[in-house]
């Protein structure tokens, strides 16, 4: 029983602008000792699920600023499940209205973070959600 590295896919689905927030989170996870697979801008849910599968990640972090989260996130979860990766934890960052939170939790999103969230909290939540013994 050895402690193994946590692997996290950080992706930016949708067509909106920049990936500064995603990069900040990616670096914070790296600094917390995790292995981050960074896929860049304009990822479709299909691309994200495919990358999550090939990389055998423990978690997927999505950064969505466009407001399209209620369309994109359920689709990502659906595809992960279809691929047999229902155990992968999904985290969401962006501008998410409070009224969407219950539905997001219901479909299986583990954590949601607004623009002011501390990266320490994100790191702690990811750690807590993943069993570390291989």
């Amino acid at each position: 029983m050895t402690e193994r590295k946590i692997r996290v896919l950080v992706a930016k689905p949708g067509l909106d602008g920049h990936d500064r927030g995603a990069k900040v989170v990616a670096r914070a996870l790296r600094d917390a000792g995790m292995e981050v697979i960074y896929t860049g801008l304009r990822q479709t849910p299909e691309m994200i699920a495919e990358a999550a599968l090939q990389e055998d990640v423990d978690a997927v972090g999505l950064s969505i600023l466009s407001g399209a989260h209620m369309a994109l996130v359920p689709r990502v979860l659906e595809l992960l499940k279809a691929n047999g990766q229902q155990g992968v934890k999904v985290f969401l960052g962006g501008i998410i209205p409070d009224e969407d939170l219950p539905r997001l939790k219901e479909i299986g999103v583990t954590g949601v973070y607004g623009p002011g969230a501390s990266t320490d909290d994100i790191v702690a939540d990811i750690r807590a959600s993943i069993p570390l013994v291989a």
Partner: protein, 333 residues
């Protein structure tokens, strides 16, 4: 006993493949058992190493190479290695960003890998992950590494064909070309050929190639990497060609693919393909032998016995060799 993971991989289950790669990377018992089972199916893939300084365009080139091999109907696996942070052990692996053209193609499998600090361990893990892809039926396995001395050499030992990627403007007379690079390069690539300074980069590479006298170069090449006891160096010479490419638009890619295929033909015709394979397996076996014997030895040696042995060396009562001989005598047979 058959491992269900290995069987699922052979049946084309991509999630099983991804999971087995993790088990192998983490060197788990399950991973080892599956490797044992898959081993008879290895030795078929063409392993291509791509190495060079950060930012020279390796990932962009790998993307284009894979597109070419896909057009020929070959299945392509990519292992993209990036360094782990020496301070935190974490890593940001960003090579997929440049490999967008390969998404949605079931004939391609891209796996990012962090170097995790240990050089020997990286070479072993990479070799074993390549074996998994090989057994799973990927005809081409491309391994991208950031060129940093020893890892270049390790990759060359693993790969059939090693591409060393340079780019103009990395500094006067290519500071990136370090000692030893000519011994491992089967093909030299000057990427970013759309940038100024291509001619001087090419001139510097050519003069270095000429400096290394061909016969001696090849001898060194084999002497370092693939001599088998009592065997003569291969007949015929392979002079590393220089290919100029612009990865984003694909210029020079057909010529590069041709050079890779020519090198594979050369390896097969000269007998080097078989020789390299055997030398690589011999080196891997040697490593395994050392690891296993050391582990066995340590398992039978209590910490207190080890400390008393060290103490007698430290006080100069006995030499290290004498103490070791004594410890070996004490080992159960």
């Amino acid at each position: 006993m058959n491992s269900s993971l290995a069987q699922a991989v052979l049946a084309g289950d991509r999630l099983a493949l991804a999971r087995l790669l993790s088990r192998v990377e983490n060197d788990t018992a399950e991973g080892r058992a599956a490797l044992d089972e898959l081993f008879p199916l290895t030795g078929r893939a063409h392993l291509i190493g791509v190495t060079g300084a950060p930012g020279t365009g390796k990932s962009s080139l790998v993307n284009q190479l894979a597109v070419f091999f896909r057009q020929q109907g070959q299945k392509v696996a990519i292992i993209a290695v990036d360094p782990s942070s020496p301070f935190t052990g974490g890593a940001v692996l960003g090579d997929r960003v440049r490999m967008k053209d390969l998404q949605g193609d079931a004939g391609v499998f891209i796996r990012s890998m962090a170097s995790r600090g240990s050089l020997g361990g990286l070479a072993t893990a990479t070799a074993q992950m390549a074996q998994v892809f090989d057994a799973a039926g990927f005809e081409i396995v491309i391994i991208e590494t950031v060129g940093a001395g020893q890892s270049e050499v390790d990759i060359a030992r693993l790969a059939h064909t090693t591409l060393v990627v340079e780019a103009p403007g990395l500094g006067d007379d290519i500071q990136a070309i370090k000692a030893g690079i000519l011994e491992i390069a089967d093909i030299l690539v000057i990427n970013k050929a759309d940038r100024p300074g291509v001619e001087s980069t090419e001139r510097a590479l050519k003069s270095m190639l000429e400096l290394a006298h061909p016969v001696q170069r090849i001898f060194l090449h084999h002497g370092q990497m693939m001599t088998l006891a009592g065997e003569e160096p291969t007949a015929g010479l392979w002079i590393p060609p220089i290919c100029k490419t612009v990865a984003p638009d694909g210029s020079g890619l057909p010529e590069l693919v041709q050079a890779i295929e020519k090198h594979a033909d050369y390896l097969r015709q000269s007998g080097d393909w078989i020789r390299r394979d055997r030398a690589r397996l011999e080196a891997e076996f040697d490593l395994l032998l050392q690891e296993t014997l050391v582990a066995q030895f340590r398992a039978h040696l209590t910490e207190s016995r080890l400390q008393s042995a060290i103490a007698s060396i430290h006080s100069r009562q006995a030499s290290p060799r004498e103490v070791l001989a004594k410890l070996l005598e004490e080992m159960p047979r």
